[in-house]
């Protein structure tokens, strides 16, 4: 089996994240204390989700320009894995919030709008599940995909920054401020983001290949019968 370089890069970066993320120095900050290391795991989930949803949008647009089963499969599977990343992001965020903010659901603007963004994407799956006609499902969900992505951007990146938020990087001042200013943390954070994004891409690509293989088998059956 030929193993692509990016898969090896993904493994190396994730192992590096686990080891360096636990062992390297981090700034000594009150309240967050040692939990600051969750930055290497919680935040990349969201980066991964945005990346996967972007890929999903890209294939949805490709579908709308030139309808085909392949692009619909791509769009759907990227969205599926993206949602998994988002759910993991929100669960890890709740665990972290429980420790640093005092309760798992604090009604923080970033937390609320992230949840709304996930609900918008959940509706995408409900829409797909409610249609039995393949072509209709592909077309409607591609259109909805564009809407969902456009709704997600302000929910994650604009609204939380316009109000005060306890979530770092919000409340008027983007970026990680005190956290990300630390160059030692960047040494782990950026590789972690790339590693987790590659993992999401890898899982999505496996699911896409499986679906495409299924599709090809169906076609072969069809040819035999006709």
């Amino acid at each position: 089996m030929k193993t692509s370089g990016w898969k090896i890069l993904c493994v190396v970066l994730l192992l590096y994240t686990a080891v360096a993320g636990l062992l390297l120095d981090v700034p000594r900050l009150n309240i967050v204390n040692e939990t600051i290391r969750a930055l290497y795991f919680h935040v990349p989930m969201w980066f991964g989700m945005v990346f996967l949803f972007s890929m999903s949008l890209w294939h949805a647009i490709r579908y709308l320009r030139n309808p085909s089963i392949e692009t619909d499969i791509h769009s759907f599977e990227y969205a599926t894995v993206g949602l998994v990343f988002g759910v993991l992001g929100i669960i890890t965020g709740m665990i972290w919030a429980n420790y640093t903010w005092g309760s798992p659901w604090h009604g923080d603007p970033k937390q609320n709008s992230a949840a709304i963004a996930l609900l918008v994407y959940l509706a995408y799956f409900i829409l797909r599940g409610s249609l039995s006609n393949d072509e209709q499902r592909a077309k409607l969900s591609a259109v909805y995909n564009v809407f969902a992505f456009v709704a997600m951007i302000p929910l994650l990146f604009i609204i939380p920054r316009m109000t005060s938020s306890m979530h770092p990087g919000n409340g008027g001042n983007p970026g990680f401020n005190a956290y990300d200013l630390d160059s030692k943390m960047r040494l782990v954070f950026y590789p972690a983001v790339i590693g987790w994004i590659l993992l999401g891409y890898w899982i999505a690509s496996l699911r896409i290949r499986l679906k495409l293989a299924e599709e090809k088998l169906n076609e072969l059956e069809h040819e035999k019968n006709s």
Partner: protein, 75 residues
């Protein structure tokens, strides 16, 4: 300003200058856990889980490759 007040002011100034450094040291981190080497237990556990899951992913990848080959031969 008498001698006592001078002493108090200089003491206060000293405290104010030192306090950021003192506070930084006061922040509780898992220093004991690290000094006892127990952090490596955590590292080992997480690495084992990661390696296990990734190996599983590689096998799944290979399985799908084989399936694709089979389908292409059928054509």
């Amino acid at each position: 300003m008498n001698w006592n007040m001078k002493k108090i002011v200089s003491l206060l100034c000293g405290v104010m200058l030192l306090s950021p450094a003192l506070l930084a040291q006061d922040v509780q981190m898992a220093d004991t856990l690290r000094s006892e080497g127990k952090i490596y237990v955590l590292v080992a556990i997480i690495v084992v889980i990661l390696v296990g899951l990734i190996t599983f992913l590689f096998f799944t990848d290979r399985k799908i490759s084989r399936l694709e080959k089979q389908i292409n031969q059928k054509k």
